[in-house]
Subunit: 444 residues, 2 copies
Amino acid sequence: MTRLPLALLASLLFAFPAWAAKVTSYRLDNGMQVVVMEDHRAPVVVHMVWYRVGAADEPPGKSGIAHFLEHLLFKGTDDLGPGELSRIVRQNGGSDNAFTSWDYTAYFQRVAADRLDLMMTMEADRMRDLRMTVDDVATERKVVLEERGQRIDSNPGALFREQRGAAQYLNHPYGIPVIGWRQEMEQLNRDDAFAFYQRYYAPNNAVLIVAGDVNPDEVLALAQKHYGPLAPTPDLAPRARPQEPPQLVERRMTFTDARISQPYMVRSYLAPERDSGDQREAARLSMLAAVLGGDAATSVLGRKLQFEQKKAIYVNASYDGVSLDDTTFGLVIVPTPDTSMQDAEAALDRAVAEFIDEGVDAEQFARIKMQLRAAQIYQEDNIESLAQDYGEALTSGLTVEDVQAWPDLLQSITEQEVIDAARRIFDKRKAVTGWALPETEAAQ
Amino acid sequence: MTRLPLALLASLLFAFPAWAAKVTSYRLDNGMQVVVMEDHRAPVVVHMVWYRVGAADEPPGKSGIAHFLEHLLFKGTDDLGPGELSRIVRQNGGSDNAFTSWDYTAYFQRVAADRLDLMMTMEADRMRDLRMTVDDVATERKVVLEERGQRIDSNPGALFREQRGAAQYLNHPYGIPVIGWRQEMEQLNRDDAFAFYQRYYAPNNAVLIVAGDVNPDEVLALAQKHYGPLAPTPDLAPRARPQEPPQLVERRMTFTDARISQPYMVRSYLAPERDSGDQREAARLSMLAAVLGGDAATSVLGRKLQFEQKKAIYVNASYDGVSLDDTTFGLVIVPTPDTSMQDAEAALDRAVAEFIDEGVDAEQFARIKMQLRAAQIYQEDNIESLAQDYGEALTSGLTVEDVQAWPDLLQSITEQEVIDAARRIFDKRKAVTGWALPETEAAQ
């Protein structure tokens, strides 16, 4: 990547249009939250329904049911045949999809703006009237098991990630994979799926996001027409998952697999997430990740380990604070061929310790803040990814105000705060350190 | 310990009285299992009620509630004031106690045999009619938190055990401590405790064990009188906890604490438990633990690591197959002062590998079998510990027949089976290896 001089970057930044999506938020009488983002530059609309339920809300022993149910949502209703929703979206020139995380399950369509009424008709229909036959369940269980086989079981990196996740969380269900443990997926049945559906798929547990070439009043009227009549789930308890006890000792693991060709190390530290009205520590950690592990040529770890010491061919730091409960701060190093894992890890630890001693470089920090502003503007420019951001945030305990406050919060973080946050987060007692090695190397 | 010549041991063994407790088992109409063990050598009786519920049956986020409820059971009923049950037992010259594990919660009294009617009156009373005030709950919560403070938080060995347990189980609630995680214990309330009590404290979830100077018919009549009228919990589902996914990678941890003076290593391997009608692998593992880690002078690990190589001041292998779900096989080594943890661990691994190559020493194996027979006879001689064994087994998925078959099953295990079981169990991918070090040592 070419390094732009700061002055040029700044001029580019201010050259961007000052366009920003207007975000309005309502709540229907049945408890459904409605968020509208106007963007009239193209005659399209993104229609999303986000449920405040994910894999971390599953009953014990039923792992995978949130994601399994996501599949079953395409099986049809009283009014829609199996697969018909997706077919209608395609026939109208649109695309649709769905995704499940630990904190949310979401369904969306992207289509011409004048088809919004049709999208809502179908999405509202499957919120409460899903048809779920024992046959559908049996068929779809095979599909998700096959998905697990392809995405996880045949992928050593994914298996390693699963085992590290389970070791990271001593008590919280974030340690359980979203797709589910195979032996539990094999037992998922219609009753489990239906109970989960009936409880959590309800307007008072959902966020509707409509983004694009729409008028907020019209969207609200349509939402009231389609989603307004749906019955909420009574006595829906606030979300509460088992939380972590004090983590007192680093967990280490060396994963070996013949299919791994390139050794690497991942360390994750338990980290606080963004809480509503209390996002500052998360903002510090975001800045820390950017300083340590952004662009290879200018980041602290990239400069020290790749360019100066030549210990690594890749190094990174990562943190995503959008999470209902405790998340992780990650470090990755891929050593050069003549560097052992032990050396690479020691070099990484040294680099982090030196960074804490040396402090944040002022020029790098100013550059990162500028790049963040630029990225934010790019982001605002993409209405679909902006809608995605709001959906994730609103189903992870944050508000529209929290999302809107975030960019300025990042800008307000000082160099000293980043160093202080680094001192707090790099506590190995809360860490899982994993080495991934080719089988031959482990045998030595 | 003195080594007895085999011939002498054998003669001692056959010199033991051929006494064995007669065990009879019934089931009341409301589903309560009744087990009677006759032993007329002393005019005492042990009266126990075992519930098929323990810490591993707790709802997520409510850790500690099974043990907390055990405390609340002494708070009184409609007919008994707080602490009155224990006071009456003492006034009658007896003793009483209770204990909670992952798989069971048990209450027992040891008292003169003619007081059995009184014991049953009180125990049956608190099975269904417990009084539980908000004040009782608040007071007792302080007590169990204090208990946690003393038994766990101020004990580095216990804290280390907790962290290892959490790392051992990726999915199963055996990874959660019986006493509970502090932050969850602090939230335990009357509603949680009462719901747990109402569901699980019921005759169809209980085993009554009466052992001592009693007549089975009279015990059955008394049981019918006191426990017979109690209502069972309808639709009590079979016990089913989340099971382990494949464990793919060893977890390692180094726990340092200033209060640790003697470094040591514990490794635990996930291991199959005794299943009803299918106890053979567990019997092999029991024999393996006895061969590897019994008496220091004759056991494989003791001989190699303590006596020959002088690498360890203590070494042990342990396995207890009485468990509803997967249990663990443990290895411990405490190195000599001039042996590093790394050397000690490598020596332990080598000793185990050599053992698998060398096979089981026939003379040692014969001696162990003889000692087991002797221990079994001692055990039978202690009616209280025998009752305890039955209680644990019957609340851990086993039957009276399984318990009775166990001693002969152990005797039938061959040397080759022990080696084969060793090959299966010592799979580091299913292991947690923990080093406990004084803080100074870790800082080096």
